[in-house]
C-alpha cells in the first residue's frame, strides 16, 4: 500500500458514497409516490482498489404485485357492475314512494276493485285509466333506463378499449427502455417503476397475467390467455353500437383477433372493468329488460278482449293496454323484446285523448263492436270488470329466461322482479366492498414491502454521511503527509 493508493481508495469511497446518497435522495423525493419502489445502490469491491457501484437495485415483490393486479381487476369488475345496478335500482325507486311497476300494478287492481263497486261512476273509470297509464309509463321509463344503462355500458366499453390500447402503446415504449437499460449497465429501476404503474392501470381495465422475458422485457396476456403484448402491443378493437334497443346485442371486444368479451367467445376475460361492463350490457341489464317486457306482455294479455259474438270467429285482441304491434296479441308464453318500451294505453279508452274511460266496463276498446261485453249497455254492468280483476290475479306463464318463477300472477311476478333486483344489487355491492378491501389491502402490503420508508432512508443517510466524512479525513491525512515530505526539501 502506498500513499497514492490510499488516496485512490478514499476517492472511490467518496464517489460511491455520493452515488448512494443520490439514491437515498431519489427515494426520499418519491416517498409519497405509490408507484415508487425503494432503490439501493449495490457496491462491489472489484479488481484494484476501493469500491464502486455495480448497479441500482430495486426492491420488488412480484408475488405481492401480481396479487395486487388480480385483486384490482376483480374489484374494478365488481364496481362497474354495482354502479350500473345502482342506476337500475332507480327504476323501482324507494318502496315508500311506490313508483315501481309492482306498486303501480297493485294500485291498478285496487282501482279496478273500486270501479267494480261503482261501475256507473265515470270519475272512477277515469281513475282506473290514470292508474293504468301510470303502470305503462313506469314500464316505458324503466325500459328507457335499462336501454340507457346498456348504452352507457357500451360507450364505457369503447372508452375502456381506447384506454387499453393507449396503455399498451405506452407500455411498449417503457418496455423497450427497460430492455435497453437491462442489456447494458443502465439504471432500469425508474423505468421499471413506470412500467409497473402502467400495468396497474391496465389491470383496472382488464384482468392480466404477465410473463417476464430473459432480456428484461415482459409479455402481457389476458386472464384468459390471449396475447395483449409480446414485443409489440396487439390490437384491441371494439365497434360501438349507436342504438342498443331491447333485444339488440352489442358487439364483441376483440384482442389479437379473438373475442375476449361479449359475443360468442371461448376466451372470455373474467375480471377487469371491461368484464364488468360486458356483464352489465349482455347479461344483467338484458335479464332485467326481459322481466320488464314480460310484465308488459302479462298486462296486455290480462286486459285482452275476446270476440263476444254468439259464435266467436275473431281472434283475441289487445284491450286497455296495447303496443306497437297491436291490436293482435303478443305470444302467450315467450318473451317479446321491446314490449315494455312500446306498451301504452289504447287512446279509445283515454279521456285525455278523446276516448271513453267507460269502455273498461263495456269492452270493445279495440274499436270493434264484436268485442263489446256490455251488449245491453247497462250502467251497472260489472262482469267485464270482475273478469279483468280475475285475469290480473290469475297465474300466467312467463318466459323462464328471465330468471323468475314462470307461472305466477302478474302482481307476484312484478314483486319478484323487484326482489331480484334488490337482492342482486345488495350482493353485488357487498361483493364490491369486499373486493375493494382486498385490493386496498394488497396495495398497502405491496407499498410497505417495496416502497421507500422515510425513517429507513434517514438512517442510511446518517451512516453514509459518516462514511463520507471518514474518507475525506483520510484524504486530508495523506495530504498532510505529503506536505511534511515536501517541507523536507526546504
Amino acid at each position: 500500500m502506498s500513499l497514492t493508493l490510499s488516496i485512490d481508495t478514499a476517492r472511490s469511497s467518496l464517489a460511491t458514497t455520493s452515488e448512494q446518497i443520490s439514491v437515498v435522495s431519489r427515494n426520499i423525493a418519491r416517498v409519497g409516490d405509490a408507484n415508487a419502489t425503494r432503490k439501493t445502490a449495490q457496491t462491489i469491491t472489484g479488481p484494484g482498489v476501493g469500491v464502486s457501484v455495480a448497479g441500482i437495485q430495486r426492491t420488488a415483490n412480484s408475488l405481492l404485485f401480481n396479487a395486487y393486479l388480480n385483486s384490482n381487476s376483480s374489484s374494478q369488475a365488481q364496481s362497474a357492475i354495482t354502479s350500473s345496478l345502482d342506476r337500475l335500482q332507480n327504476t323501482v325507486d324507494d318502496t315508500d314512494l311506490e313508483r315501481s311497476p309492482a306498486a303501480l300494478l297493485a294500485k291498478l287492481s285496487a282501482a279496478l276493485q273500486t270501479y267494480s263497486g261503482a261501475p256507473q261512476n265515470p270519475a272512477v273509470a277515469a281513475s282506473v285509466v290514470s292508474a293504468a297509464k301510470d303502470v305503462s309509463n313506469a314500464l316505458n321509463s324503466a325500459s328507457a333506463t335499462v336501454t340507457s344503462v346498456r348504452q352507457q355500458a357500451d360507450a364505457d366499453i369503447g372508452a375502456s378499449v381506447g384506454r387499453i390500447n393507449s396503455l399498451l402503446a405506452q407500455f411498449e415504449t417503457l418496455n423497450n427502455q427497460v430492455i435497453r437499460a437491462t442489456s447494458g449497465s443502465g439504471d432500469a429501476s425508474d423505468v421499471l417503476d413506470a412500467r409497473d404503474a402502467i400495468l396497474k392501470q391496465l389491470s383496472a381495465e382488464v384482468g392480466i397475467r404477465t410473463v417476464d422475458e430473459s432480456n428484461g422485457g415482459m409479455s402481457i396476456y389476458t386472464d384468459s390467455g390471449v396475447t395483449l403484448f409480446d414485443k409489440l402491443p396487439r390490437k384491441v378493437s371494439f365497434q360501438q353500437t349507436q342504438n342498443l334497443s331491447a333485444g339488440m346485442s352489442g358487439a364483441a371486444v376483440f384482442a389479437d383477433g379473438v373475442p375476449i368479451a361479449g359475443g360468442t367467445h371461448s376466451l372470455g376475460i373474467s375480471t377487469g372493468k371491461l368484464a364488468g361492463l360486458v356483464a352489465v350490457r349482455d347479461d344483467i341489464a338484458v335479464t332485467y329488460q326481459g322481466q320488464l317486457d314480460e310484465m308488459a306482455r302479462g298486462l296486455i294479455l290480462a286486459f285482452a278482449e275476446s270476440d263476444q259474438s254468439a259464435t266467436p270467429t275473431l281472434p283475441d285482441v289487445a284491450g286497455l293496454f296495447t303496443y306497437a304491434g297491436g291490436p293482435g296479441l303478443p305470444s302467450s308464453s315467450s318473451l317479446v323484446s321491446g314490449l315494455a318500451a312500446s306498451i301504452k294505453i289504447n287512446p279509445n279508452a283515454d279521456p285525455s285523448q278523446g276516448g271513453d274511460a267507460e269502455l273498461i266496463r263495456d269492452g270493445g276498446i279495440s274499436g270493434n263492436a264484436a268485442y263489446k261485453y256490455n251488449a245491453a249497455g247497462g250502467a251497472s254492468f260489472t262482469d267485464r270488470i270482475q273478469g279483468l280483476i280475475a285475469s290480473l290475479g290469475a297465474g300466467q306463464t312467463f318466459d323462464p329466461s328471465t330468471q323468475l318463477s314462470s307461472s305466477v300472477p302478474l302482481g307476484s311476478y312484478a314483486k319478484d322482479s323487484v326482489a331480484w333486483l334488490q337482492a342482486l344489487r345488495q350482493s353485488s355491492s357487498a361483493e364490491a366492498e369486499y373486493r375493494s378491501t382486498v385490493a386496498s389491502r394488497a396495495a398497502s402490503a405491496l407499498s410497505s414491502q417495496t416502497g421507500a420508508s422515510l425513517d429507513e432512508e434517514m438512517t442510511n443517510l446518517l451512516s453514509l454521511e459518516r462514511t463520507f466524512q471518514a474518507s475525506s479525513r483520510l484524504i486530508s491525512v495523506v495530504d498532510g503527509m505529503f506536505t511534511t515530505l515536501l517541507q523536507s526539501f526546504s
Binding site: 493508493l5 442489456s183 409489440l232 396487439r234
Partner: protein
C-alpha cells in the same frame, strides 16, 4: 593520474545521479498518466584495471530500467469503454499509421466507430463476424481495429423460440378445427408471437390450440398477415404454416408425443423456427401461456460496445439484442520489462523482450479485462520524492569529491611557485 582519476570518477557519479533525477522527473511528471510504468536508473561500476600496489579509481555507469510488469492500481471510472488489465498482458493497439504496438493504457473512447485511447492508438481485436478472422498466435496478423463501421444495421431472422402453455384438460372438443381454416373455427386458446424474417420484417405467428379428443390436442400456426378483417378466421390461402398433433399423458398431464417436443415453423422468407414445446402441459384450469417467445430482431443500429472479462466485445443494438462482434486478445512477451518504450505509453517488442504471444484474456497466465476501470500510473509519489532527496545528497557528495580534487590540484600547482 590519481587526482584526474578521482575527478573523472566523481563526474561520472554526478552524471548518473543526474540520470536518476531524470527518471524521477519523468515519473513525477507522469504520476497521473494511465498505464504509465515507472522508470528507474540502476548503476554499475566500471573498475579500472590497476596494479596491486596502487588504486586506480574507476567510474559508474547508469542503466535505465522500466518496471513494465509492475501492476498499477486499478481505479473505477464511469465509462464502459475504459479498460484495465488486472494481471499479465497488454492490449494490442495500432498507431494511426497502422503499426501494431502493446499498451496497458486502456482509456478508450469511440471515435468514428473505433475505440481510440488518449494517445491516439486504436484497439485491435479479432473479428468474430463476417466469417471471423484467422488468429495467429505469435504475430499481429489477422488483427483488425475494433469498429462499429462494419456492424451497420443488422436483422437477425428468428430461429429458436419457446412455446409453453398450459392447455385446459376440461375444454370442450373442437368442432371446427382451426387447421380446417373455417370461418367459425373454435379453439381453446390463441397466442401470437412476433418473429422476424431474413430481412427483418415482423412476421406475427398466430398459434391456435384446439382439443381434438381426450388427451389429444392440435397446435396450428397461421401467418397473421393473411388474417381476416377482424384479425381471425378465415385466413387467406397459404397462411397455414404448420399444424401438429399433440398427445398428453392422461395421468400426469405431460406431453407424450412428439417426444422431442419441437414445433418447426417455416417463416415466410425466413428460416425455420424451432419452437420448444417441452414444458407444455395439459391440466385442469384455464388456458395459460407460460412462455411464448422467439429470438431474432428487426434492423437496428449499434447502440454501444460492451467488453467482458475475457475480452469479448459485444455490440449492443438499440433494441437490446446483443451480438459478439470482436475478441480482444491480450499479448504477452517472455520478458516484459525489456520492451522498448515508445511515446504514447506504448511498447514495442525487441530481441531482448522476446516475441509476441497472443491469447485470450482470463486464460492461462494472462490477466482479465476490467471494463469501466483504468490502470493508473505505477509511480508512487512518496518514493519518488525520497529518491529525489537521495539523488540530491549523492550528487552533492560527488561534487564535493570533485571540489576536493580541484583543491588538491591547486595545492599541487602552487608547489611550483
Amino acid at each position: 593520474m590519481g587526482l584526474y582519476g578521482l575527478m573523472t570518477t566523481s563526474i561520472s557519479g554526478m552524471s548518473v545521479q543526474a540520470d536518476r533525477m531524470g527518471t524521477v522527473a519523468d515519473n513525477i511528471a507522469n504520476v497521473n498518466t494511465t498505464g504509465y510504468k515507472e522508470a528507474s536508473a540502476q548503476f554499475a561500476t566500471l573498475v579500472a584495471e590497476g596494479h596491486v600496489a596502487s588504486y586506480v579509481p574507476g567510474s559508474v555507469s547508469s542503466v535505465a530500467r522500466r518496471a513494465i510488469s509492475h501492476q498499477g492500481d486499478i481505479s473505477y471510472t464511469t465509462s464502459p469503454t475504459d479498460l484495465a488489465i488486472s494481471g499479465n498482458g497488454f492490449f494490442m493497439v495500432q498507431s494511426p499509421s497502422g503499426t501494431p504496438f502493446l499498451t496497458r493504457a486502456g482509456s478508450f473512447v469511440t471515435t468514428n466507430g473505433q475505440l481510440v485511447n488518449a494517445a491516439g492508438f486504436t484497439l485491435l481485436g479479432y473479428d468474430l463476424l463476417n466469417g471471423g478472422s484467422t488468429s495467429v498466435i505469435n504475430s499481429a496478423a489477422g488483427l483488425v481495429p475494433v469498429s462499429t463501421a462494419n456492424l451497420g444495421l443488422k436483422a437477425t431472422p428468428s430461429s429458436v423460440g419457446e412455446f409453453q402453455v398450459m392447455l385446459p384438460s376440461d375444454a370442450a372438443t373442437s368442432v371446427n378445427l382451426p387447421s380446417a381454416n373455417g370461418a367459425f373455427a373454435d379453439f381453446s386458446g390463441k397466442t401470437s408471437i412476433i418473429t422476424y424474417d431474413n430481412l427483418g420484417h415482423q412476421v406475427t405467428l398466430d398459434i391456435y390450440s384446439a382439443k381434438t379428443a381426450n388427451n389429444q390436442w392440435e397446435v396450428t400456426v397461421y401467418d397473421n398477415a393473411g388474417a381476416s378483417a377482424n384479425g381471425g378466421f378465415p385466413y387467406a390461402g397459404g397462411s397455414l404454416l404448420t399444424t401438429l398433433p399433440l398427445t398428453f399423458d392422461g395421468t400426469n398431464g405431460k406431453l407424450l408425443t412428439p417426444a422431442n417436443g419441437t414445433l418447426s415453423v417455416n417463416i415466410p422468407n425466413g428460416t425455420t423456427l424451432s419452437l420448444a414445446l417441452g414444458n407444455t402441459t395439459q391440466l385442469a384450469g384455464d388456458y395459460t401461456p407460460m412462455k411464448a417467445t422467439a429470438n431474432g430482431n428487426g434492423p437496428s443500429a449499434v447502440d454501444r460496445f460492451e467488453i467482458s472479462k475475457n475480452g469479448t466485445v459485444t455490440a449492443v443494438y438499440a433494441d437490446g439484442s446483443r451480438v459478439d462482434a470482436f475478441q480482444v486478445p491480450l499479448a504477452s512477451v517472455a520478458s516484459p520489462d525489456n520492451l522498448t518504450a515508445i511515446s504514447g505509453n506504448v511498447f514495442a517488442t525487441n530481441k531482448d523482450s522476446g516475441d509476441l504471444q497472443l491469447g485470450k484474456a482470463n486464460t492461462g497466465a494472462l490477466g482479465y479485462i476490467a471494463s469501466g476501470a483504468l490502470e493508473k500510473s505505477s509511480v508512487d509519489l512518496a518514493s519518488e520524492l525520497t529518491t529525489m532527496v537521495e539523488a540530491q545528497r549523492s550528487y552533492t557528495a560527488n561534487s564535493k569529491v570533485f571540489q576536493t580534487g580541484t583543491q588538491l590540484l591547486d595545492v599541487l600547482v602552487n608547489l611550483v611557485r
